[in-house]
């Protein structure tokens, strides 16, 4: 496993973001080898559970059931209405103003759909109560540094010694919301110490065997704010995919199966970095594993297609020594990318998809137990 890094003088967020984005492509694109490729996922990378158990009856991949009343119950959706707020809402998307949290709040408070209004009225107090304690960051930095696996030093005066392989993520979500209390863990069946019979892919060769950038990062762990901030747990991140990874490009190059890979890899990597950094802020590390799960959510979008992810960090022990007797796995649930609307013509939105909006609203309504 090779070292992923960036040169010291280019640790700017934009550069790191570009690199980070590039490393999410699942397969080598037919362009030149200069384009960096995605590293194979580390052996312990959590599996993506996309299809929840079959007893769910809803149209969306609903989140796993919680111990208490499920906030993710999606009621049957009413037909599209021609609301003025809806037009302005979608026009703001199409004019490349990605919905900031504040905009989402204004959207949510504008909800005039009857069903959605009922959901909100029931949970509305929870929305405002949770949001009143939250902090939102615009274009924050999220960094995490960890060791995973071993390699033998090939050249130099340390030749022959065994070193851990070091990884660094430098992420920059478009928007993130942090809260002062942890989100509840996801589901009874997915508690901390329950082993999950899921398959985590094992990759033997080094990522440096793929043509990949190999530079030295500054090793940082950062959740978006310093340790002194009382809002030290993550709630939701919003990621905006760059133009380079747009769907039309993949379709043109006949890589349709790689479209979802972009969303999923972004969701998994960003959320792993965020939850692991939150755990580190609380004092856990690979020798002192987490005693409670860290849960966060993410929405990855390119402006029209939305994919939703929820991540539960169960373990930080990923180094070669600590992973031997560690049955725990981290879990990420996610949906496929779904369009919010089909097209906007003449000031009208055609084919508005209420399910996506409902899912977004439910994400924001999710709140810690104590709040």
């Amino acid at each position: 496993m090779a070292l992923l890094a960036a040169s010291r003088h280019t640790t700017s967020i934009a550069h790191a973001q570009k690199l980070f984005r590039f490393t999410q492509q699942g397969r080598s694109a037919p362009s030149s080898h200069v384009t960096p490729k995605a590293p194979p996922l580390p052996a312990r990378q959590p599996p993506l559970q996309e299809n929840p158990p079959a007893d769910r009856k809803t149209s969306l991949s609903r989140g796993p059931e919680r111990g208490r009343e499920s906030l993710w119950a999606i009621e049957p959706v009413c037909g599209p209405h021609d609301c003025r707020w809806c037009i302005s809402f979608v026009q703001t998307i199409t004019s490349n103003l990605f919905p900031s949290f504040t905009w989402i709040l204004s959207v949510v408070s504008h909800c005039s759909y009857r069903r959605m209004g009922r959901v909100l009225n029931a949970k509305g107090e929870s929305l405002f109560f949770c949001i009143s304690c939250s902090v939102s960051d615009l274009n924050p930095e999220v960094n995490y540094y960890w060791h995973h696996g071993k390699e033998v030093v090939v050249h130099g005066h340390r030749k022959g010694r065994v070193d851990p392989v070091r990884f660094q993520i430098d992420d920059s979500p478009h928007l993130q919301i942090r809260v002062p209390k942890q989100l509840p863990e996801v589901g009874i069946t997915h508690k901390l110490n329950v082993s999950i019979p899921a398959f985590v892919p094992v990759i033997d060769h080094k990522p440096s065997k793929l043509p990949l950038f190999k530079k030295q990062y500054e090793n940082k762990v950062f959740i978006g704010a310093k340790v002194a901030d009382p809002c030290c747990y993550g709630h939701t991140q919003f990621h905006l995919l760059p133009d380079k990874l747009k769907r039309e490009r993949f379709i043109r190059e006949r890589l349709e199966d790689q479209i979802e890979v972009v969303y999923r890899s972004n969701g998994i990597a960003s959320l792993f970095a965020w939850t692991a950094a939150q755990a580190m802020y609380q004092g856990f590390w690979n020798e002192a594993d987490v005693t409670r799960p860290f849960v966060s959510q993410a929405v990855v979008t390119d402006g029209k297609y939305f994919a939703f992810f929820c991540y539960q960090l169960n373990t930080l022990a990923l180094t070669a020594e600590t992973i031997k007797n560690n049955p725990r796995k981290n879990i990420c649930w996610g949906t496929d990318s779904k369009p919010l609307y089909d097209v906007v013509e003449d000031g009208n939105v055609k084919g508005f998809n209420d399910e996506v909006l409902l899912q977004l609203v439910h994400f924001l309504l999710n709140r810690p137990k104590e709040l």
Binding site: L97, S106, F128, V135, L138, A225, K226
Partner: protein, 390 residues
């Protein structure tokens, strides 16, 4: 091209003011205000006086596409930022110090629960100034917008109590264009007018009818022998444009508040408080005028329903608050009903934000954290946000 310091200007021959307000034998009752008294010189920069050009030499005044231009067909001169007094003349406005009573009433209303929000406001200031970066201290380019977003976040929490607050929308980088004539000089305001908060319903007029009629007696200050259009850029335009920046049918059609963030890291790239106030006034006027012309047509007249636009400007620590009421679009002559502006200037939100404690000879002289937090400034910010719906 250089700004002449005010001290070099001769005393104004403001005979008109004396003539209208003096009675025979009582000229001394209305002495012309000496120039020096009404302009407190900024102590740190004695060579730069309010109303002067500031950094015209560096070519920075129009960095953000903020050109207030005086349109003329003949000559061309360069523009910079006028002080508030010059802006008053250009917009035919009377200045009132302090915030209007309606906004003061919102601040003093105990039912709003502003006390509880103080703690949140302090937390938000700490977040913006201390905790937001992986480096030692965030730079102004980072903390100024973050502080603004955080304060707006707290303001939006009030929409739980007042649901009509949700009928607002923030718009960034929107362009405004307004043209008017002032004593045979054609003026225009064009450009990116900061961050604009729109609302579905307009702000009700702040000044009563009597106050509006009383402005007829107010005399606009002139700057003889200096032309009031000094330092305005002259351009040739071929279309006298009045545009609010939004198309028809936009649900949030009434401009509510403009926010100006002076977030440049370098001091010389930022506007001084006086210049910032002038910029706020000009753009509030521009937005109000464009809206009034959109509502009532291009004919100059006294407005039945005055248009109110607010303005808040900050550099991350110092806040300037402004409420502007457009009473008339008849701006050609110097007489008649004038527009009104209330300005509350130079309000500090906090004294100092110390990321790392300052230690001298083993003793902590300045502890880390936010010191000197002024809740009143935040209350004014919130009151201006709530104005119009509460």
């Amino acid at each position: 091209r250089t700004g002449r310091p005010e001290a070099e200007r001769p005393q104004p021959q403001d005979t008109r003011a004396v003539a209208t307000s003096s009675r025979p034998g009582t000229v001394s009752e209305v002495p012309p205000r000496p120039r020096g008294e009404e302009e407190p010189l900024p102590p740190a920069q004695p060579h730069e006086l309010p109303g002067s050009l500031g950094h015209i030499g560096n070519g920075l005044g129009w960095e953000g596409a903020l050109s207030i231009t005086s349109v003329s067909r003949d000559r061309s001169r360069w523009v910079v930022f006028p002080g508030v007094r010059q802006a008053q003349w250009l917009t035919k406005t009377k200045l009132v110090e302090g915030l209007p009573p309606a906004v003061q009433g919102i601040m003093d209303n105990p039912a709003l629960g502003l006390q509880e929000l103080e703690e949140r406001a302090k937390h938000m200031v700490s977040h913006a100034r201390l905790w937001d970066t992986a480096e030692a201290a965030p730079r102004r380019e980072r903390y100024c917008p973050v502080l603004f977003e955080n304060l707006i976040h707290i303001c939006r929490l009030m929409s739980g109590k007042y649901p009509s607050l949700s009928k607002r929308m923030l718009a960034r980088n929107c362009r405004v264009a307004a043209t008017w004539e002032r004593e045979s000089i054609l003026l225009q305001v064009r450009g990116l007018s900061g961050i604009l908060m729109n609302s579905m319903s307009p702000i009700p007029p702040v000044a009563s009818k009597e106050e509006i009629l009383a402005t007829k007696e107010h005399v606009l200050e002139t700057f003889y022998p200096i032309a009031p259009t000094i330092d305005l850029q002259e351009v040739n335009v071929y279309k006298e444009l009045n545009d609010t920046g939004f198309r028809d049918g936009y649900p949030y059609s009434h401009p509510h508040t403009l926010f100006f963030l002076e977030s440049a890291n370098v001091l010389t790239d930022r506007f001084r408080p006086e210049q910032l106030r002038a910029k706020m006034l000009m753009f509030a006027f521009g937005n109000a005028l464009a809206k009034a012309k959109a509502l009532h047509g291009n004919d100059p007249k006294v407005l039945e329903q005055p248009v109110v636009v607010q303005s808040i400007g900050t550099d991350g620590q110092l806040f300037q608050f402004m409420v502007f009421q457009l009473n008339t679009t008849d701006l050609v002559s110097n007489d008649g009903v004038k527009n009104l502006v209330w300005i509350d200037s130079d309000q500090n939100l906090y004294e100092r934000a110390q990321c790392v404690p300052e230690v001298k000879k083993g003793v902590v002289t300045k502890p880390a954290g936010i010191s000197g937090f002024q809740p009143d400034t935040f209350k004014k910010f919130l009151a201006l946000y709530l104005h119009g719906t509460v």
